[in-house]
């Protein structure tokens, strides 16, 4: 870029200056960002993703969720691997199954999953909304037990 500067004497003098960008603050920012991202970067696979319709409880547990079937109890209903098995209306089950020994729809699905899984270990992850009362969870756990899923893991938001 060339600039024209008028001197006191009234004579015009042509100045040459390079419009260099000061990159130092940008590089500083990028390095800080890079350090933060490297620190938060995780190489461990995460098999569970937060679901919009449920709010998980907080947990101080550091055990990462394994790659196992996840049963979701949300305000919309009971979902298994993303499919609604039992819909809820206003957060309440359409059909009251709290007195049932097990939930037949869920039992069928769990058993078919068990039969098709060659590496079946009996692990089931329960991703339930924090406001879900125990009387809704109880028949689900009973059904899981009847279907051969004895290793239950409650999902919660990690403290990270």
């Amino acid at each position: 870029m060339s600039l024209v500067k008028k001197s006191f004497g009234g004579r015009r003098r042509k100045l040459t200056s390079r419009a260099d960008l000061n990159l130092t603050p940008m590089i500083d920012t990028l390095i800080v960002l890079l350090v933060f991202l490297v620190k938060s970067y995780s190489v461990e696979p995460s098999y569970l993703t937060p679901t919009q319709s449920i709010e998980l409880s907080r947990t101080s547990s550091t055990e990462v969720a394994p790659d196992k079937p996840a049963l979701i109890i949300g305000k919309d209903g009971i979902l298994l691997n993303g499919n609604v098995l039992l819909p809820f209306v206003n957060g309440v089950p359409k059909r009251d199954f709290s007195k049932e020994a097990f939930i037949p729809e869920l039992k069928d699905k769990l058993e078919s999953m068990k039969n098709s899984d060659k590496n079946f270990s009996g692990t089931l992850i329960l991703q339930a909304d924090k406001s879900v009362p125990f009387h809704v969870i109880r028949p689900v756990l009973r059904t899981a037990g009847v279907s051969g899923y004895f290793d239950i893991k409650f999902a919660g938001m990690g403290a990270e």
């Binding site: 409880s57 907080r58 037990g145 239950i152 999902a155 990690g158 990270e160």
Partner: protein, 173 residues
């Protein structure tokens, strides 16, 4: 980093003759990759065993340690070996802390034990159950140091966990 060979450019220009373009390219390429891979919230899991119905249990070995937490609405009753030891109310501000301190004092008396049972009433929300499980899991900052005898080596080892094994009662009743 590369120092540019003096070709027409003055050393006083730019960044002392350092070529920062490759560094910038690297940073700009790395940052989007890391942003995609970064985990802001992680879902962790808590192992919960479900107590089996009495009819299924073939042999019950008697134990000198039985810690049970009965959760009724906002009240938590801590029962140790069949006797009520203490009661806590969820609405109190220091509920989690006082419950945790109680677990610490029980652990002091029974350092070899790791299991406790929890029996929630029908209306108890999962969040309350998880909070109790959380307060019983591990030693926190400020807790007194404890040791226990390691069964494998016979040496005294520092206790890190309080009662991480949880058994959920009342599922089959």
């Amino acid at each position: 980093m590369f120092r540019k060979v003096n070709k027409g450019h003055n050393e006083e220009d730019g960044h002392g003759g350092l070529m920062i373009t490759p560094l910038l390219d690297l940073l700009v390429a790395l940052i989007p990759i890391l942003i995609i891979g970064v985990v802001m919230t992680r879902i962790n899991v808590v192992d919960v065993a479900v107590s089996k119905p009495v009819s299924v249990l073939k042999k019950v070995t008697p134990s000198n340690f039985d810690l049970l937490l009965k959760v009724k609405g906002t009240e938590v009753e801590l029962v140790l070996n069949g006797k009520t030891r203490s009661k806590f109310v969820k609405s109190n501000a220091d509920f989690a802390t006082s419950l945790h301190n109680e677990f610490v004092s029980i652990k002091k008396a029974f350092p070899q034990e790791f299991e406790f049972k929890i029996e929630p009433e029908s209306e108890v929300a999962l969040d309350n159950i998880m909070e109790i499980i959380d307060s019983a899991r591990e030693i926190r900052k400020g807790d007194p140091e404890m040791t226990r005898k390691d069964e494998a080596t016979g040496k005294e080892v520092r206790v890190k966990y309080l009662f991480p094994k949880v058994v959920l009662r009342g599922v089959y009743s």
